[in-house]
């Protein structure tokens, strides 16, 4: 039941700041196919924004000619959004995910904190010099009437 893919979207975007809003708005429109609350939508937007911003700032060190791949999947009971880059990777994921850890003094190191606060699960896969993949998932309170009777 839980692994049935109801719909999927794949986006490839250049690592430009302008594409952060494009990514979160596109994903928000995509997940709107489900009966989510406005609050859920806002939370997903923030999480996507953080993951894509991280790829640009940290993964690609603000280089704007690289690609970020975003795959959104709607399952019967959850939404999963995968944000992947081929950037520098994270040497120590555990440390990177700690609040207030940031390699940039103007930033607060809150990216992962928001992702974890707003999503039910945040998985990070990373290899130095190969890139990082962040998988965000959020459970859906699937009200029975949303699911087409088959």
């Amino acid at each position: 039941m839980e692994n049935i893919v109801n719909n999927r979207i794949k986006l490839e975007l250049l690592s430009k700041g302008e594409n952060v809003s494009l990514a979160r708005i596109t994903i928000a429109a995509f997940v709107s196919q489900l009966n989510l609350t406005l609050n859920d939508l806002e939370e997903i937007k923030v999480a996507v924004s953080e993951a894509v911003s991280n790829s640009i700032i940290h993964g690609y060190q603000n280089e704007t000619d690289k690609f970020i791949t975003i795959i959104g999947t709607l399952y019967t009971d959850k939404v999963e959004i995968e944000v992947a880059d081929n950037g520098i990777g994270i040497p120590n994921i555990k440390i990177a995910m700690e609040p207030t850890f940031s390699t940039d003094p103007e930033r607060m190191g809150l990216g992962f904190v928001f992702m974890q606060s707003f999503m039910d699960e945040v998985r990070v896969e990373s290899k130095v010099d190969y890139g990082t993949k962040v998988i965000l998932s959020k459970k859906i309170n699937s009200t029975k009437e949303n699911i087409a009777v088959s």
Binding site: V20, V46, S53, M108, L110, G111, V113, S117
Partner: protein
């Protein structure tokens, strides 16, 4: 993203609008720092009522300005955040540091109190 600025009583008031993310954060940082330097204002008020979206990039700029204002013994007040923005502020832990209130009127009261104390 739009910015409206004016200054009075040694305070700079900034009204931010739209989405406050990676792109707008750098614009905001530059403009606000330039205005603070030009007006030599000590205090800073930020109206967030027109902000529809904020993430850690936007928050980072707010925190950065707070550090700057505090370093100059000034007071910073943010007001008018919608519930979604308020939630983000809450999780970030900046609320105990920065004065957060509902309206411009309340924000000016906080500034007035500080100015009176100093006189």
């Amino acid at each position: 993203m739009c910015l409206i600025m004016n200054s009075k009583k040694n305070a700079l008031l900034i009204k931010v609008g739209g989405d406050f993310d990676l792109v707008s954060a750098s614009v905001f940082r530059e403009k606000i720092d330039k205005s603070l330097d030009e007006t030599m204002c000590k205090h800073l008020l930020i109206d967030l009522s027109r902000v529809k979206f904020i993430d850690s990039s936007g928050l980072g700029v707010i925190l950065g300005r707070y550090k700057k204002i505090k370093g100059n013994n000034g007071v910073m007040v943010i007001y008018g955040a919608n519930p979604a923005v308020e939630k983000i502020l809450g999780i970030s832990g900046i609320v105990p540091l920065i004065n957060v209130c509902r309206s411009e009127e309340e924000a000016w009261k906080i500034i007035d109190k500080t100015e009176v104390k100093e006189v």
